[in-house]
Symmetry: D2
Subunit: 142 residues, 4 copies
């Protein structure tokens, strides 16, 4: 599925979170430093899981971790200082022990899509050993 | 070209920089937060350009900017606090107005490849208008 | 005035902003990395100015910058992942060309004061030359 | 002791580390974001301890943590992109269960002191209970 269609699909759902760009996020080019979009992706997956009755902190209590194995971001337009940005996110299963999240970042002022991307995650114990995704998370992702 | 072969090719050249993992880089999973690898990629492309007689700061003096349009990272093993990491990087042309850099991050202690990835960049003016890559940069990337 | 009394005074006013701790904010000690509190202080002063009808972005349009000349933070209790934190902030004049902001960070769940601090700022042009604080900002700070 | 004299004293010793300013460190004012100096302070105390035969990672293996209880930074001149900066640091005891580090950041190109500051630390177990500073660390700090 192309990035464009992912973004369209994600934007049919309400955003899971909203952030305002801080000075701390910008760089001397006058735009948000490219690595910081990945912190917003993290906010997106956390809040998507929370909305579906799941708590990321609780997941770790259960001993299931979601280390990132791939991160990808396409930057379409620059986020700028003080911009308010809607974070759209959704999870999906990619195998019995792997899941992924798709993201779209949309500036509220002009509805411009600033970036899209995805992350892929293993499911592991705290010690890093692979585990199957617990049933109730699998249901959320189906 | 697969990520594995990119990493192999990059590792045939000496690293362009070396970093030591700071507390600031880690997260509560006890490993380096995934977005921070992208800051190391930045160090990689900066130092690769510098080695080839080019200075990133100078580039901006010339009015040529390299905004990131795609970032991609594959995480193989976790970088941990106090690890010393070699950054391997190399640039390549992808079109008359676009270039890319490939990266491999290698832990010095055990020669483990922690991550590979790439970034793609437009070449623009400070105002964001596309420009052709200056001849002398094009030569470095050929 | 002691830090305790500053915190008490600040907490008599409603918070100017609220943040939730991200994974990105934590370090391997399992708490928020100490430098990240300063980014929350930035959110505090920005929102305090905005509430009083002033926009930090607008200030720069006017050519007035507020570079930090001193930052100070007292850490009382650790902020942890997923904590929701109220940011209390207020500005004050310290000279015709200097101002300060006081901050208190309060965890919502248990009303614990996690940290207090202040920043002092010069008022300068974009080029870094000192300028007097514009009248309408001075009024906010009186 | 004034900040000036601390800086002078620190600069009589060789720097404990050197960093080069990254794009990631800058903000849209074209200078290093103020919170990032605290990450350099962390590099300073880590390397100061290492030089004296002590390893911060090892300290945690021993079950002694050094949470920051106060951080203070005075910003004299702006660090800019690509600047190479010497980090000077030194530790000192402030009580049987507290220690402090002083810092001075000096730009190599012009020997300008960019910032000075200090951090104060408790000594605790992993669970956060205060412990006396181990004898061999106390000796380093004397």
């Amino acid at each position: 599925m192309s990035d464009v269609s992912v973004a369209e699909r994600l934007r049919q759902q309400p955003p899971v979170a909203q952030v305002r760009v801080r000075y701390a996020d910008t760089d001397q080019m006058g735009v948000v430093y490219y690595a910081n979009y990945l912190a917003w992706f993290e906010v997106g997956r956390t809040e998507w899981l929370r909305r579906d009755g799941w708590n990321y902190r609780h997941m770790e209590t259960d001993g299931v971790y979601l280390p990132v194995i791939t991160a990808h971001c396409e930057y379409a337009r620059s986020a700028r200082y003080d911009d308010v940005i809607d974070i759209h996110a959704a999870g999906r299963l990619i195998s019995p022990a792997r899941l992924a999240f798709d993201y779209a970042l949309v500036r509220v002022a002009d509805a411009a899509c600033l970036a899209t991307g995805y992350t892929e995650h293993a499911t592991t114990t705290a010690a890093g050993r692979p585990v199957r995704i617990p049933a109730r998370i699998r249901e959320l992702l189906a």
